[in-house]
C-alpha cells in the first residue's frame, strides 16, 4: 500500500506462487516455495508486521521448505503437472 | 400405590415385566411359559378391576411424564379404551394356552423370542387402548408395528421374510403418515388430548385442510385396519404361526387399526366436524366397498388362513363403517363388533391351527371329512362361522343388528343393503367348509384325532363365550352397556 516496494514484493510473491505450481521438478518447486515464503515475509515487514515477517521467514519459508525437501526425498521428484 | 389413577399403569406392568423374565428363563420352557400365563392372568385381572369405575362413567387418567411441551405421556381409561384392553387382555390368556400347545406341537424354533415378542405386543396393545393423547397413541402404535415384525417373520422361511418386508412396507409409511397428521394437528390445534366428540373444529382450518388431515389420519390407521386398498399386507402376514395370526391379525394389530379409526373419528374430529367437512361419506364408502370386495375375494381363497384373513378385512370394515356413519346405534354396533368379532375370529384361527398341527393341512379343499375326526374343533368352527354370518343366538348378531339400526338411523339404507349382502357372502364362504367337513369322508383322516387339550380348550372357551354373549350380550363384561356409553359420549345422543 505504501508504494512501489510493497507492490514489487507482491508481484514477486505472485510470480513465485505461480511458478511453484507450474514447475515440474518438485525439488525445484521446494526451492521456489522457500523463495515465495521469503517474499511474503518481506511483504509482512513492509506492511509493518516485523514479528510476523520473522515468523514467516523461519517457519513459512524455512521449516516448510525443509519439510517439503524431506518429503520429496522420501517420495518422488517428478510431477506430471 | 393401588389407587384409581395408578391402575392404568399397572395394567401395562405384567406384560412388560414378563419380557425380561421370559428372556431370562429361556432354558427352562416350563418356567418360561408360567411367566406368560401369569402375566396374562394378572393383566386381565388388573383391567377387569377397572370395570366398575368405567361403568360409573369415571374416566381414569394418569400422567407419567412430559413427552414434549404441552404433551404428556399419559394413560386414560374411557369406555372405548377399556373395551379394547379388555378384549386384548382376556384373549391373551386363551391365546397363551393355545400358543403353548401350538409351538410345542409344531416344534417351533426360537420359542423364547416368540413368547417375548408376544408379551411386547400385548404391552403395546394395552398402551394403545389406554393412550390419552395422539402422541402416546403413536408411540404405542409404532411399538406394536416393531414388535409384531419378529412374529410375522418367525418361521424365517422365504415366504415369512417377504411377508415381513411387505408388512413393514405398508406399516412404516403408514406410521409416517400418521406422524405427519399428528404433527399437523399439533400445529393447528396445539392440543392432542382425546376428547369424546372431538377437539378439532372448523376454526382450526379450512375444510380442505381438515379433509387432508383426516385423509392422512385414515391412511395412517387404515393400513393396520386393512381398509382397501391398503389391505394386502394382511393375507401375506398369514405366513406367521397360527396363534400369531389369531391374536395379532384377528385381534391386537388389526383391531388397533380399527380402534384408531374410532379414536380419530370420534375423539379427534368428532361427528359434528366430520359432517361439516363431509369426510364421513368417503370413509363410509371405502368401508362399504371393502367389506363387499373382501368377502368376494375370500370366496376365491383356498388356503384357510388366507380366507380368514380376507374375512377379517371385511369384518374390520364393519367397525369402520359404524364409525363413519356417526349415529348412536352405528357407534354402539362398531364398538360391539370390535369385541364380538374378536371372539369369533380367534376361534376360527384356533381351529385352523388345530387342524394344521394335527394334519399339516392348510387348504380348504383338503379338509373334506375332517369334521368327523375332529368334531369338537369343527363344531366350534361352525359356531364361529355362523356368528360371523350373523346368525341370531351368537354374539355376531347383536353387533350386526346394531350396525343395521345405525345405518337406518343415519338415513343410509344403502349400507344396510351392503351389510346384508356381506352376510350372504359370509355364509357362502363359510358354510361350504362346514358342509364338506361334516358330510364328506376322507380315508386319509382315519388316524386323525382331536388335537391336544392345550389347543382344544381355548377354542371351546372362545366358542362358548360367543354363544353366551349371543344369548346375553351384556353378561360379564357389560359389553353392551359400555358400547352404549361410548356411543352416547361420542355422538352426544342416546341410542335405543
Amino acid at each position: 500500500m505504501n508504494g512501489p516496494i510493497t507492490a514489487l514484493f507482491f508481484l514477486l510473491a505472485l510470480i513465485a506462487a505461480i511458478a511453484a505450481l507450474k514447475v515440474k521438478d518438485l525439488l525445484a518447486v521446494a526451492v521456489i516455495l522457500t523463495a515465495f515464503g521469503f517474499f511474503v515475509a518481506l511483504l509482512y515487514t513492509a506492511l509493518g508486521a516485523i514479528d510476523v515477517g520473522f515468523n514467516e521467514a523461519v517457519l513459512g519459508a524455512g521449516v516448510t521448505g525443509v519439510l517439503f525437501v524431506v518429503a520429496i526425498h522420501h517420495t518422488q521428484r517428478r510431477s506430471i503437472d | 400405590m393401588f389407587s384409581e389413577t395408578t391402575q392404568p399403569l399397572w395394567a401395562l406392568v405384567p406384560s412388560l415385566l414378563a419380557i425380561p423374565l421370559i428372556l431370562a428363563t429361556a432354558r427352562r420352557p416350563n418356567l418360561r411359559e408360567t411367566w406368560t400365563l401369569l402375566a396374562a392372568l394378572s393383566q386381565c385381572a388388573v383391567v377387569l378391576s377397572m370395570l366398575p369405575w368405567v361403568l360409573e362413567g369415571h374416566v381414569i387418567e394418569s400422567t407419567l411424564w412430559s413427552l414434549a411441551p404441552d404433551i404428556n405421556l399419559s394413560l386414560r381409561v374411557d369406555p372405548l379404551g377399556f373395551l379394547f384392553a379388555l378384549v386384548a387382555s382376556t384373549l391373551w390368556i386363551v391365546t397363551s394356552c393355545y400358543s403353548i400347545g401350538y409351538v410345542r406341537g409344531t416344534r417351533e424354533k426360537h420359542q423364547t423370542r416368540y413368547f417375548a415378542s408376544f408379551a411386547c405386543c400385548l404391552t403395546a396393545t394395552i398402551g394403545i387402548a389406554f393412550s390419552a393423547n395422539l402422541l402416546t397413541f403413536l408411540l404405542f402404535f409404532e411399538l406394536l408395528t416393531l414388535t409384531t415384525y419378529p412374529l410375522v417373520i418367525h418361521k424365517e422361511t422365504k415366504a415369512a421374510l417377504s411377508a415381513g418386508r411387505k408388512y413393514l412396507a405398508y406399516t412404516l409409511p403408514a406410521g409416517l403418515t400418521l406422524f405427519g397428521a399428528i404433527c399437523w394437528t399439533a400445529t393447528t390445534a396445539g392440543n392432542l388430548d382425546f376428547v369424546a366428540g372431538g377437539f378439532l373444529s372448523t376454526k382450526h382450518g379450512t375444510a380442505e385442510t381438515l379433509q387432508l388431515i383426516f385423509l392422512l389420519f385414515m391412511i395412517g390407521v387404515g393400513v393396520k385396519a386393512g381398509v382397501m386398498p391398503l389391505h394386502s399386507w394382511l393375507p401375506s402376514a398369514m405366513a406367521a404361526p397360527t396363534p400369531v395370526s389369531a391374536l395379532l391379525h384377528a385381534v391386537a394389530v388389526v383391531k388397533a387399526g380399527a380402534f384408531g379409526v374410532l379414536r380419530v373419528t370420534g375423539y379427534v374430529f368428532g361427528p359434528e366436524l366430520l359432517r361439516d367437512i363431509g369426510a364421513w361419506t368417503a370413509l363410509a364408502w371405502f368401508a362399504g366397498i371393502t367389506l363387499t370386495m373382501a368377502s368376494l375375494l375370500a370366496i376365491r381363497q383356498d388356503n384357510l388362513k388366507r380366507r380368514l384373513a380376507y374375512s377379517t378385512i371385511a369384518h374390520l370394515s364393519y367397525t369402520v363403517l359404524g364409525a363413519a356413519l356417526l349415529s348412536p346405534w352405528s357407534w354402539t354396533g362398531a364398538s360391539l363388533h370390535l369385541v364380538f368379532h374378536a371372539t369369533l375370529k380367534i376361534t376360527l384361527f384356533f381351529c385352523a391351527g388345530a387342524i394344521y398341527v394335527n394334519t399339516h393341512i392348510e387348504n380348504i379343499s383338503d379338509m373334506a371329512g375332517i369334521g368327523r375326526r375332529m368334531p369338537v374343533t369343527m363344531a366350534a368352527f361352525a359356531v364361529a362361522s355362523l356368528g360371523l354370518v350373523g346368525f341370531p343366538g351368537i354374539n355376531g348378531f347383536a353387533s350386526k343388528w346394531s350396525l343395521a339400526l345405525g345405518s337406518l338411523e343415519a338415513g343410509q339404507g344403502v349400507f344396510l343393503g351392503l351389510l346384508v349382502l356381506s352376510g350372504v357372502l359370509n355364509a357362502s364362504y363359510f358354510l361350504p367348509i362346514i358342509h364338506a367337513a361334516f358330510f364328506k369322508t376322507n380315508p386319509a383322516f382315519d388316524r386323525v384325532a382331536e388335537a391336544s387339550p392345550w389347543l382344544v380348550a381355548p377354542l371351546v372357551i372362545t366358542a362358548t363365550i360367543s354363544i353366551v354373549w349371543g344369548i346375553a350380550p351384556n353378561l360379564g363384561a357389560h359389553a353392551v352397556d359400555l358400547a352404549m356409553l361410548i356411543a352416547t359420549s361420542v355422538t352426544g345422543e342416546h341410542s335405543g
Binding site: - | 413427552l67 414434549a68 409404532e142 416393531l146 424365517e156 421374510l161 413393514l168 406422524f179
Partner: protein
C-alpha cells in the same frame, strides 16, 4: 480454586492427561489406556459440575491470563456450550472405556500415542465449545482437526488417502472461516463473540461476505451436501475406535460453531431475513438427507453404510438450523445428542464385530445377532432410533423438526424429511433381518464381546431410548436456555 475457574479445567486436564499418557506409554504401555480413561472420566465429571454451575448461576466467564474481554481471550460456559461439552466428554468416556483391545489391534505398539492424540482431539473440541473468542475458536478448530486427520490415518491401508483428502478439505474450510473472520474483524475491530454481536451492522457488505464465507467453511467441516464427499472415506478407513470417537462428535461440534456464529453473532434476523443463508443451509441439508440415505442403501460395507447415514443424519441437524424456528432448532440440538449416542453405539458395534470376527462386510453378518445378543440388542435400539421410530431420541428430534417445518409452512421439507425415514428404514431393516434370521456356519465360534467392550455399547443403546422418553427433561434443562436470543420455545 473457585467455581468460576471450571471452564479452563477441561482443556487443562486434557492437556496434562495427554502428556502423561504419552510419557507412561514409554514406560508402561498398559497404563496408558487406564490413564486416558481416567482423564476422560474426570473431564466428564468437570462437565457435569460445570452444567450444574451454569444451571444455577447462569453463564460462567473465565478470562484467560486475567486479561478481561474484549481485549483478552475469554472462556464462556453457557447452557449451549455446556450441553455440547457433556455430549463430547460423555461420548469420549464411553469410547475410551472399551477402546484398549481394538486400539492394540489396529495400531500395535503405538496405543499410547493413539490415546494421547485422542485426548488432544478432545482438547480441541472442548476448547471450541468453551471459547468466547472467534480466533481462539479457529485455533481450537485446527487443533481438533489436525488430531482428527492423524486419528483417521491410523486405520487400514487406504486410511492415508482418506486422511489426506480430509486434511485438504478441512484446511480449506478452516481458511474460509479465517477469511470470513478477517472481514468481520475489519469492520468491528473485535474478536469477542458478544462484543462483535453488538457492533455488527447486518447491512454492511463485508459482514455479508463474511457470513457466506464462514458458512461455507463450516459447511465443509460439517459435511453439508455437496461438501460431504470427504466424510464417507474418512469414516470408513479410519480405525474403528477413531471412527467411534470422531463420527459422533466432530461434525456436531462444527454444527455448534455454525449455530453459535449464525444465531448468536450474526443474529437470527440477519441469517434468515436479510440474507437467505438459513434457507440455503436448509435446502442443501434436505438434499444431503436424501443423497446420504440413498447412498447408504447402495453400500456393502457396514462401516461405509453408517458413514453415509452420518451424512444424512448430520443433514437433519442442518435442516433444523436452516428452518431457524425455536422448535426446529430444538430438534436440531436434540438430534445432536441422540445422533451422537446412536452413531457412537453403531460404530462401537462395528468395532466389536471387527474385533470378534475380523470382518465387517454386510454379507458376513448373517445370524450374528444370536451370537452377540447384548451388542446387537443395543445395535437394534440404535437402528430403530436412526429410522426415527418412537420411543427413541431419533423420533423426537424428528418430531420437533417437523413441527418447526410446519410452523413456517415449509411443507416440502417436512415431506422430504419424513420420506427419508423410509430410505433409512430400508437399509436398517434389511440389515436387521439378516442379522437375526439367516444362519451362517462361519460364525460358529463367535462369542459375545468382552465386558469392557460390550458395556459401553449397551449403555449407549439404553441411552438412545431414555433420551427419547425423557427428551422434555433435556429440553427443560438445556435447550430452553440454550436458545439464541429472539427464539423462545413456547409451552
Amino acid at each position: 480454586m473457585t467455581w468460576s475457574q471450571l471452564p479452563i479445567l477441561t482443556p487443562v486436564v486434557l492437556l496434562v492427561g495427554a502428556t502423561a499418557v504419552l510419557l507412561t506409554g514409554r514406560i508402561r504401555p498398559s497404563l496408558a489406556h487406564r490413564l486416558a480413561t481416567a482423564t476422560c472420566a474426570s473431564c466428564f465429571a468437570i462437565a457435569i459440575a460445570l452444567a450444574v454451575q451454569v444451571h444455577h448461576h447462569g453463564p460462567t466467564h473465565y478470562a484467560l491470563g486475567g486479561w478481561s474481554p474484549p481485549i483478552g481471550i475469554e472462556l464462556v460456559a453457557d447452557t449451549l456450550s455446556v450441553y455440547f461439552l457433556l455430549v463430547i466428554t460423555g461420548i469420549a468416556l464411553l469410547v475410551m472405556v472399551g477402546a484398549a483391545p481394538a486400539v492394540e489391534r489396529d495400531t500395535p505398539g503405538r496405543s499410547a500415542e493413539f490415546f494421547a492424540i485422542s485426548l488432544i482431539f478432545l482438547l480441541g473440541l472442548s476448547g471450541i465449545v468453551l471459547t468466547g473468542d472467534l480466533f481462539n475458536l479457529y485455533v481450537f478448530l485446527e487443533i481438533s482437526s489436525l488430531s482428527a486427520y492423524t486419528l483417521v490415518s491410523s486405520g487400514d491401508e487406504r486410511a492415508g488417502v482418506a486422511a489426506f483428502r480430509y486434511l485438504i478439505v478441512g484446511t480449506i474450510g478452516a481458511s474460509f472461516y479465517l477469511l470470513g473472520l478477517g472481514f468481520l474483524y475489519s469492520v468491528t475491530g473485535t474478536l469477542n463473540m458478544t462484543d462483535m454481536a453488538m457492533r455488527l451492522d447486518p447491512a454492511a457488505i463485508p459482514v455479508r461476505l463474511a457470513a457466506v464465507m464462514i458458512t461455507v467453511g463450516l459447511g465443509l467441516k460439517m459435511a453439508i451436501f455437496p461438501m460431504h464427499r470427504w466424510l464417507p472415506d474418512a469414516y470408513t478407513h479410519a480405525s474403528s475406535t477413531a471412527t467411534a470417537l470422531i463420527a459422533p462428535i466432530m461434525t456436531k461440534v462444527s454444527a455448534y460453531v455454525l449455530i453459535r456464529i449464525l444465531f448468536f453473532v450474526f443474529g437470527t434476523s440477519m441469517v434468515s431475513i436479510d440474507l437467505p443463508i438459513a434457507q440455503a443451509i436448509m435446502w442443501l441439508s434436505v438434499a444431503g438427507v436424501l443423497v446420504g440415505s440413498t447412498m447408504a442403501i447402495a453400500q456393502t460395507d457396514l462401516k461405509r453404510m453408517l458413514a453415509y447415514s452420518s451424512v444424512a443424519q448430520v443433514a437433519y441437524i442442518g435442516v433444523g438450523i436452516g428452518l431457524a424456528t425455536p422448535l426446529a432448532l430444538a430438534g436440531a440440538l436434540l438430534h445432536v445428542i441422540s445422533h451422537a449416542t446412536m452413531k457412537c453405539c453403531l460404530f462401537l458395534v462395528v468395532g466389536a464385530v471387527e474385533l470378534q470376527t475380523g470382518n465387517r462386510k454386510l454379507s458376513s453378518l448373517s445370524g450374528i445377532g444370536r451370537k452377540m445378543p447384548w451388542t446387537f440388542a443395543a445395535f437394534t435400539a440404535a437402528a430403530v432410533a436412526m429410522i426415527g421410530l418412537p420411543p427413541t431420541g431419533g423420533f423426537f428430534s424428528k418430531w420437533y423438526l417437523v413441527l418447526g417445518g410446519m410452523a413456517t409452512g415449509e411443507w416440502w421439507v417436512v415431506i422430504f424429511v419424513l420420506g427419508a425415514s423410509l430410505l433409512t428404514a430400508t437399509y436398517f431393516f434389511r440389515l436387521l433381518e439378516s442379522i437375526y434370521t439367516r444362519q451362517s456356519s462361519e460364525l460358529a465360534p463367535i462369542k459375545e464381546a468382552p465386558l469392557a467392550v460390550a458395556l459401553p455399547i449397551v449403555i449407549l443403546g439404553l441411552a438412545v431410548i431414555l433420551f427419547g422418553l425423557f427428551n422434555s427433561r433435556i429440553l427443560d434443562l438445556f435447550l430452553r436456555d440454550a436458545m439464541p436470543p429472539g427464539l423462545v420455545i413456547s409451552g
